[in-house]
């Protein structure tokens, strides 16, 4: 018996993973050089990373954040400024972007000392907006609303990565590494501490888990990953501006996590893939495209509130939630039971 056989059997997972890996590796071939689909796949991979990293905060540790767009942007801006202004290579600026974001994330993690639930949502949202406004106004560093054009693409062994296939593989490697890292963290002493905090902070602290320390750790790692993703994005699009990292991005990433399912490894991956594919698949609807997108979001969340691949009942407090359910969702009486009982 494996440690986590609660969630899925290891053999099945291994086969699935192997198959998936093969498909992902030969995808550019499969698509026959269709760069459009490759671009969609690249975006999926990027958002898989972003959503998975946010899941560290929301799904594992049970906190909230609506500032992920800003973290992502911070990584992008740091890397872009360093490489455009100082001419540093991608392989140096990218980790620096991640580190700076992680630092800010750790700082924001301090806020979790005082903020909970919805207040944390708004605290992080306001923080994200402050970052955006600063980027817009700090023209001498960020070029303000003009954005930063001409960000050099990354180089590998002296050759610039320019084709869609290059980018695809680069982000694929990055995404696999990050998801793998998140996976390993989740199934480790650290992941258990996070989940313990999510489940019951008081009990976790009496088990010797430093609640505050692990919350900050979750924020730091999550922001590190998002910052790295931002840096990648900057060198991928070669032009960034503040409006690419606004609230809309934060909403999108949060939605991916919630739709896919909080607290599981697969959830954010599924959520990210769906929310990138759906708008593409709905293109034929023209101006009703986003109407349907919104409607779909509502319907899915109402039908499967824990998300498509989430853990059923997660975040339902064992006592409070149950009582609320019985109070508000009156299930129809089962006639047979009553007949049997009233002899």
């Amino acid at each position: 018996m494996t440690l986590r056989n609660v969630y899925a059997s290891k053999e099945g997972k291994a086969i699935g993973m192997g198959g998936l890996a093969v498909i992902l590796l030969v995808l550019p071939r499969l698509l026959g050089g269709n760069d459009y689909l490759l671009q969609v796949a690249t975006m999926m991979a990027l958002y898989v990373v972003l959503a998975s990293s946010l899941n560290l905060i929301i799904g594992f540790t049970g906190m909230y954040s609506l500032g992920h767009g800003a973290f992502y942007g911070m990584g992008a801006y740091t890397s872009a400024i360093l490489s455009v202004n100082l001419g540093w290579p991608f392989w140096i600026t990218m980790p620096l972007g991640g580190l700076l974001t992680a630092l800010v994330g750790a700082f924001l993690g301090l806020a979790t000392l005082r903020l909970r639930q919805t207040f944390l949502v708004f605290g992080t949202l306001a923080f994200g907006e402050i970052v955006r406004i600063l980027i817009m106004n700090w023209s001498s560093l960020t070029r303000g609303p003009m954005g930063i054009p001409g960000i050099p693409p990354p180089k590998v062994f002296g050759t610039e990565l320019t084709s869609s296939t290059h980018y695809y593989y680069l982000i694929l490697v990055y995404a696999i590494l990050m998801v793998f890292a998140i996976f390993r963290l989740y199934y480790s002493r650290i992941g258990r501490a996070w989940v313990a905090i999510r489940e019951d902070e008081v009990a976790a602290s009496s088990m010797g888990i430093s609640v505050f320390g692990y919350k900050i750790l979750a924020f730091t790692i999550s922001c590190l990953i998002a910052g790295l993703a931002g840096a990648f994005y900057a060198h991928f699009v070669t032009f960034i501006s503040a409006d690419q990292f606004g609230m809309g991005e934060s909403f999108l990433i949060l939605t991916m996590v919630a739709l896919g399912g909080t607290g599981s490894i697969a959830g954010p991956i599924i959520g990210a893939c769906i929310l990138i594919v759906i708008p593409e698949a709905f293109r034929f609807l023209a101006e009703y495209r986003m109407v349907l997108y919104g409607a779909m979001l509502i319907v899915v969340i109402v039908l499967k509130p824990e998300g498509l691949a989430g853990i059923k009942g997660l975040f339902m407090p064992t006592t409070g939630g149950r009582r609320r359910t019985t109070l508000f969702r009156r299930e129809p009486k089962v006639a047979a039971v009553k007949a049997g009982g009233s002899q």
Partner: protein, 241 residues
Amino acid sequence: MALLDVKDLVVHYGKINALKGVSLHLDKGDFVTLIGANGAGKTSLLGALSGLVQATSGTVTFKGGDLLNEAPEAYVKGGIAHVPEGRKIFGELSVEENLYAGAYIIKDKAQVKSLLERNYQLFPRLAERRKQEGGTLSGGEQQMLAIARGLMSDPEILYLDEPSLGIAPLLVDKIFEFIMQINAMGKTILLVEQNANLALQVAQYGYVLETGKITHEGNCARLREDDAIRCAYLGVNGNGN
């Protein structure tokens, strides 16, 4: 005819079986107590008997009508008042507002007024503090308020969940006097208590609930003499002390 008749009530919380087929019987004017340790399922039982908790199966017959798994307001309208554990008064509402909240289902303003007056007569302490916020009352006063609030819907049956909880001993006596007084007024009472000794002294009939099942029932006087109960609930050592 029985006022409240409960048969084979089963309640599950997820996979946990909190009540495993409980049957109770209350006639009009009865003073019945239900004792049991923490976690025995007392609060779940009261919840299921006032619509707060969804039962899996069983019957709850009140005045001949079936109430199982109806919404809480159906119970209140039927004539059941539930004074919850821990008093649960509305801390930020004044004493009077708390009482008005208790009379929520009564449409007739004059009747509400007269119920209010009656409660103030019964609990003069509350009349003195009618404008005070409920949260600022002492524990005993809060318990009185909770009972008075329960009476405001002019119920036929009053559930009292652990009225002695966290209250100074002198006041506990006082509150139990009130409860007996209310019973004497003709209200049926179902008292849930952990303080078995006290409960078995004031009530007429008792049920003992253990891990979701009724293990003993009978006349309180008889239950008090029962060895098993003396040993488990009255703190008297079974090895003859």
